[in-house]
């Protein structure tokens, strides 16, 4: 966007060098009020929706057990990008059922509604040539952590944390190529031995595995770029290895208590000047939990599964029956159109209407 007719453009109007501190604090407090109201609503809707999810499971049980396979094959891009060829083969032949629960909310509507539990149910025995597990249950806890930065400022982290879940792969079938096992080994060793994670032999092993696979993926990428969407070559099953930040339930409870008290004081007009600015953040080093994360986008994927795939599953299922919606067809079209994508895509994806002048 730029100026025309000698008028000021949107950005030329902007002259103020920075947001006034007082206003920034008021917006921050207001945003807290919005988040708290939204979280309370999520708590209520979780309880209200439960009978509807139960009803849906009942309907799903009436159709062939390809329901979730059809849903996943029509998943939105932010989920589909994590399903590689080999993952699709496993899910397609072995997945029987999937459930998503906001399990920390009780029937009275108390508890943290942002925590999530994913239960994947699979065929067993000869019907699943990939692994032994009948169920894979992955739980994510919404936790808060308050730390002090090197400058003595208060830094708040909030998000989903989880523990790696081991998959008992059959011989030669491990899609994560040993990465998930290495992540589970480290987590178990940490629990048993405690102390500095970096001094454990399992830490070294995981780091080596990650480097080795990263190098292999980069090589593959050069050979056949088209076949490996981001994140390059990572199996969907790496999701079960996601950990996130290290925050205990106890620590999170304390942090929430501290934040609740601050919030109440702020509502009464008390000012704080020990909160970290955006500028400070860049000076601090990377969070240490990143370096043992085998599936860095685990939180994003968990939220996409819970907020999009799960509530809209019956719609994606319906879409899988629509005429002309066939993958082999789409693949051919994609190959043909790839060169002049930009313009054409726009034209095809929307119904043609007359008045676009």
């Amino acid at each position: 966007m730029g100026a025309e007719n000698g008028q000021k453009s949107l950005l030329e109007r902007i002259e103020m060098p920075e947001i006034p501190m007082e206003v920034a604090q008021e917006f921050a407090l207001l945003e807290q009020r919005f988040i708290r109201a939204e979280t309370e609503r999520l708590r209520r809707s979780t309880v209200e929706n439960r009978p509807l999810w139960e009803k849906r499971s009942e309907i799903i049980s009436k159709v062939q057990d390809d329901f979730w396979v059809r849903v996943l094959s029509h998943a939105p891009a932010e989920i589909d990008e994590y399903i590689q060829h080999a993952d699709a083969a496993v899910l397609g032949s072995a997945l029987k059922d999937l459930t998503v629960e906001r399990f920390e909310v009780d029937d009275k509507g108390n508890g943290e509604p942002r925590s999530l539990r994913f239960t994947f149910v699979f065929r067993t025995g000869e019907e699943n040539p990939f692994f032994e597990n009948e169920k894979l249950v992955k739980e994510f806890y919404w936790r808060k952590k308050i730390t002090k930065t090197s400058k003595g400022k208060r830094r708040t982290w909030e998000g989903l944390v989880s523990e790696p879940v081991r998959i008992n792969w059959k011989e030669g079938m491990d899609l994560t190529k040993g990465l998930l096992d290495a992540a589970c080994d480290l987590a178990e060793a940490e629990k048993k031995k405690g102390g500095d994670r970096k001094k454990l032999p399992e830490f070294e092993k995981l780091a080596e595995k990650m480097e080795e696979l990263e190098a292999a993926a980069m090589e593959d990428n050069e050979e056949d770029e088209e076949d490996f969407p981001t994140p390059a070559g990572t199996s969907f099953f790496g999701f079960f290895g996601y950990r996130g930040n290290v925050v205990s339930a106890e620590e999170s409870k304390e942090a929430n208590k501290e934040d609740d008290e601050r919030f109440e004081k702020a509502l009464k007009g008390e000012k704080f000047d020990d909160e970290e600015d955006d500028d400070d953040e860049e000076d601090d080093e990377e969070d240490s939990f990143d370096e043992i994360e085998i599936f860095p986008d685990g939180e994003d994927l968990a939220i996409a599964l819970a907020e999009d795939l799960w509530p809209n599953a019956h719609k994606y299922y319906g879409q899988s029956f629509e005429i002309g919606d066939d993958y082999s067809e789409i693949d051919e079209d994609e190959l043909e159109d790839e060169e002049d994508e930009g313009e054409d895509e726009e034209d095809n994806s929307r119904p043609r209407k007359k008045a676009r002048v």
Copy 2:
């Protein structure tokens, strides 16, 4: 996604030719239950959020009146695509305030929460060289319409309808090039004269105007493709001309009553077979209101403004102060990177993490 290792892929598992009718009906009823529950929650949250929006307006009034200009300059793509160069110049120099209200919900939480009112406040006199209006108020009503198709099936339409809002452009300043005036003239003539819209001279005039501008836009597009994102050349101010379907309040009330009764009966297990299938839809002709629509994406834009720009405005405002977030800079980068977009964009937009193997 395809098969590997001789296993069945996601889609090869799918053998059933179509969704069983009984299951489809059960899912449709369940979807109705979800929509009704969600609409009820929107009703409640509308009332709950009102004091927070008021508080926000109070904070906004403390900063220079570039708040909404900053917000619009950081609007998400699905809004930004409708703001052309000339629109940005007008908004940048003349917009003072913007309010979005779910105005049909009263203080007790009764009323349709999907109806929307947008109030744009502008500078006047010499400070606005474009038009005379101090306020432009655009109201959208959520309405329902039930019709019978040529095959005697029941078709339900639901969505936002509105009336064109005239802008008193100053001499030579009409960004819609007469299109909005023509749309307003037709709507007024319809009200005064009634009868078949297509027989009115104003209908002919609007159709001519639309064709003329479409031809001009196509010519411009050939000359300078980069400058005209979709919809080609349409001014943002065409939004004030959006109409949507023709459904009176009375007609919508009747349709809602009929649907509520059907819903109650369906809950008790009654089956219906007069509902239109997806297959039927294609046989019917295009909705007649499309041909007088000067801003076909009006409903999409209204929803994006209400569900994204409005609730997140204070966040977009904050983002407009972030270091390095400068439009002239971005423009240069975009030009340079355009050729190898795909890969690079992915790399730049996410923080680099170690474990992406």
